[in-house]
Amino acid sequence: MSTHPLRGAAAIAGLGVTPQGRVYGTNAIGFAVDAIRLALEDAGLARSDLDGLLVNPGLTWNDQGMGSFQLQQALGVRDLRLTATMNLGGATACAMIQHAAQAIAAGLCHTVACVFSDAPLKPPSPQGARSSTGAAYGFARGWEAAYGFFGVNAMYALVARRHMHRYGTTQDQLGAVAVAQRRWANLNPQAQMHDRPLTLDEYRASRWIVEPFHVFDCCLVSNGGLAVIVTSAERARALQKPPVYVWGMAQGHRGGDPSDTLTSGAVLAKEPAFAMAGITLRDVDVVELYDCYTFTVIVTLEDYGFCAKGEGGAFAAEHHTGPGGTLALNTGGGQLSSFYMWGMTPVSEAVIQLRGEGGARQVPKHDVALVSGNGGILSTHTTLVLSRLAS
């Protein structure tokens, strides 16, 4: 048993998920306010109960630097004791919860809203103009653009190709991840792909985005907001929803060229997070891994030790990570098939599973969940171990 002072000190007491996907009528700030309102209602709290606000602004926030102050004004909350605008890319969601839990455990504040929102999708144009889901993500300028190298899809594609070259990872193994997660999404009414089954043959026949990625290797693009309320374990127990305790946390940011290491920061973060939580891999019932691409899931499975390095593709193809399989992985469909709220998607699904609110997709044993966040090109990594049990 771990005696770390952070273990079990804080808990997630509220979850707010706005409608996701092609939803319009407000902007990123509006979605953030909606998500926090829903999370407070879920917890049975009022705005005045908040004394902390952490924000991960999506790409369409106007003021990335002072987003948390902008949101505090929009939300009309006063007298906060903790706020920050945080950005580790897709690793931010877990990092916000870590920061909140640390501050709560240190007595600096007691109830913190952590929120992500974005609104990259525009309503269909009346002229029927071409729609490109990638348009909001045109990162590359200058040098890269001169070669027609656009966006994160292409950056990850280069790294994935190295993994395939070095370890023999196959296209169908990437497809196995997409198919398994789609089967979970078919059981999740909130998933954007809920009504759209996917077979491996359909995956193979689907359009390319950038080889080796088909469209179904890439996460969705979603409008929406997602918030959680983090508070002390003691307060959480007095609220209306079953607490989701934060048992363990860590970060790992490798630096260098991910094409060389072909690993995520999980290789650094896993051990301290598991030590704090007092668990081993065998204690994990539910696994929610950050999935910007199918490839990211394969690498992250390897780095947490579900299989040996280089065998993530074979593991995904053979070990049946879909419903009824041997590993309950990305049980809401993940960001590939439910919705893309950066790292908040895996966090929210872990909360749903640990509370036992998963409906048709509920995992029978749901005591301990592992959640990962990943940002940049395998650049930043955060780990959370969550549990429905206080200790």
């Binding site: 070669y147 190298f149 094409s259």
Partner: protein, 140 residues
């Protein structure tokens, strides 16, 4: 027909720290920044050597020879000039001197470009100011 963005090929802005690179490229010579402390080549230009933290660097000629380190085939482009040319390959070339460059391989179909393939530099004179380094398959 009205001139549209379709005809306009994206050209890198010549930022001051890369000016020597483009000057050499106009003469069809490939140069890379070389750390004067540890000798590591790097690309593109950076203020500091990430290996030894020295700020002393100079642009030095490199062989222009290397191997394809990775390759991605683009099927979706955010720019109309490239959208009209899909699919096409983008590669990372590891030069013999160690520096890696994002570029492309010309004279080969996208699917005939493989990791480990030996390549050598060529130049595409895109504008009077910008000769863009590209790579061709080479013998060794």
């Amino acid at each position: 027909m009205k001139e549209t963005a379709v005809e306009i090929r994206p050209v890198p802005a010549i930022v001051p720290e890369m000016a020597p690179f483009w000057e050499a490229a106009r003469r069809h010579e490939l140069v890379a920044q070389c750390c004067l402390e540890c000798g590591a080549f790097r690309f593109p230009a950076r203020e500091v050597c990430s290996r030894c933290l020295s700020r002393q660097a100079a642009w030095r000629p490199v062989s222009g020879r290397g191997r394809v380190f990775s390759v991605a085939v683009m099927h979706q482009a955010n720019h109309p000039w490239f959208a009209a040319r899909l699919p096409y390959a983008v590669v990372v070339v590891e030069l013999d001197e160690g520096a890696r460059m994002l570029s492309t391989v010309v004279g080969r179909a996208p699917h005939d470009i493989t990791i480990g393939m030996p390549v050598e530099v060529a130049f595409d004179d895109v504008t009077p100011e910008v000769s863009l380094p590209v790579f061709r398959a080479s013998a060794s």
